[in-house]
């Protein structure tokens, strides 16, 4: 007689998602955008860096755990050093880093996770899943120049750059000047609260400057004295620039002047303004089709910013997050 097991009923109403990761993302989405940072906490796990940011809506006094689709969820974000267990989470975040090119993504993720001194992962406190919601790191292009992933990354950028006057600059950044260049890798889930960005970037740049003093060998210390940062990211660019001119003539009620570029990550806008030079390249990965973005296409975007401009960047980032 075949055995039948008893049904186990789920007692708590869960949002309509099927993985714990998706559930966490769905619950974060409900955090009010007007939430402010209420306290900074030192975390307890031994490998945790000890910066925790807790956010809640000041009008709601109790925290609600997955309470239907209203209400605000209190979450504590904790910053961690990269470690090799985070491989799968970081790989998912970096899946479309170089568009749909088949490259040594595993090697790239391994490089990021091996560099424990510079680099941060953002996770949720007490999450059983331990999935990273954001990853940030700076890799010296010269130090890792022999790794397959860096070689493929350089090839990709040189091949995809369509602006002839920039190609020589790019070639020198990736070639002779590589040991002074840090590849700034910053990727996160789309709805991560922006209040986390100043401490996150602050942590990265602070670690870079600490590494120039704390690293055991002279060579390693020098490898963190970056003169330039290279950034590869994505933006939304207006599909047809001519549409803007037609909009002026017609004066349709809903035609607020569409901005030419929409930055997915707010810090990209600041980097773009401070950059030495930048270029865009078309992307082939499918983008999510939404009503607001129907005139825009997902475009890749690479820029180089001088290391001296970083303090300006940090100030501008703080002020722009404070006012939004």
């Amino acid at each position: 007689m075949p055995r039948r097991l008893t049904r186990r009923r789920r007692l708590l109403p869960q949002p309509l998602t099927f993985s714990p990761f998706a559930r966490s993302v769905a619950s974060i989405q409900r955090v009010s955008s007007k939430a402010h940072i209420s306290k900074i906490r030192r975390g307890s796990p031994p490998d945790c860096k000890g910066i925790g940011v807790s956010k809640h809506n000041s009008s709601l006094s109790e925290s609600s755990e997955d309470e239907g689709f209203e209400g605000v969820v209190q979450t504590d974000f904790v910053f961690f050093d990269p470690k090799s267990d985070d491989f799968h989470g970081v790989k998912i975040l970096l899946q479309t880093y170089l568009d749909d090119k088949q490259w040594d993504l595993n090697g790239f993720v391994d490089l990021i996770l091996a560099q424990a001194t510079v680099g941060t992962l953002v996770k949720i406190e007490g999450d059983d899943d331990d999935t990273p919601f954001s990853v940030i790191s700076a890799l010296n292009l010269g130090r890792y120049k022999d790794h397959k992933c860096i070689v493929e990354l350089k090839e990709f950028l040189l091949q995809i750059c369509q602006e002839k006057d920039l190609i020589n600059g790019l070639r020198s950044i990736l070639g002779e000047q590589a040991h002074d260049v840090g590849l700034l890798v910053s990727q996160r889930v789309v709805n991560l609260p922006p209040q986390l960005l100043p401490p996150l970037y602050g942590a990265l740049f602070d670690e870079v400057s600490w590494a120039t003093e704390d690293e055991p060998t002279e060579e390693l210390r020098n490898s963190f004295r970056f003169k330039f940062y290279l950034l590869v990211s994505k933006i939304y660019k207006l599909k047809n620039a001519n549409q803007k001119r037609n909009a002026h003539q017609k004066k349709r009620p809903n035609s607020h002047n569409d901005e030419e570029i929409i930055y997915i990550k707010p810090e990209d806008e600041i980097f773009h303004k401070l950059s030495l030079w930048s270029f865009t390249f078309p992307m082939r990965t499918q983008q999510v089709e939404t009503q607001e973005l129907k005139n825009y296409s997902l475009t890749g975007f690479a820029l180089v910013v001088e290391a001296e401009k970083i303090s300006t960047f940090r100030q501008q980032l703080e002020s722009s997050i404070d006012e939004s």
């Binding site: 039948r4 049904r7 099927f18 799968h88 749909d100 088949q102």
Partner: protein, 245 residues
Amino acid sequence: MATRLMFENSCEIGVFSKLTNAYCLVAIGGSESFYSAFETDLGGIIPVVKTSIGGTRIIGRLCAGNKNGLLLPHTTTDQELQHLRNSLPDQVVVQRVDEKLSALGNCIACNDHVALTHTDLDRETEELIADVLGVEVFRQTIAGNILVGSYCTFSNRGGLVHPHTSIEDLDELSTLLQVPLVAGTVNRGSEVVAAGLTVNDWVAYCGTDTTATELSVIESVFKLREAQPSAIVDEMRRSLIDTYV
């Protein structure tokens, strides 16, 4: 024979394909090398059908099937349903299921004789599974996860389950399913074993990230090393024919 594959930079082969003993479904939009890997091994033996389900490419996670039938979610369009009915062999019953839990591939794990399902599946769906797929249905969890279709995958010869499954659970499941089971990972430590690989009685496909150890575990539990379609015939021949004149 286990082969390593990649679908458009993703190692989750079980998401973009569905392999059974009677047919193979693959997602559209992949590269030619992806299809040729299936065609080489399965070419003349079973039909390899390119399809989408509900306009998406995650067909492996949306449908559930075995050699007797194929269950599709309610999001499947009529054209897709017709295309599948036309392309699959006549003995395979293709049925669209009206079930709130529409990712049938995540909720149902089955071979040709037994099926494990999500604990919250409708009674009607359970009966439909027993009917269309010709299997005995058991509501189960795997290492505390209700998505049995994601965390375990089994063929008629063996099965692979979530790495954190306890020994008692393994024994219980093994008696239920009547196949040897092993708790392991795929794609360099990924616990979602059914999304990372797709398997039938003689061939398996997994992502390129799968380590050699994982691959050897897969080949041994699913008994793929000696398994070629001709091997089965040879064995039969040896038992049926006494002497050659």
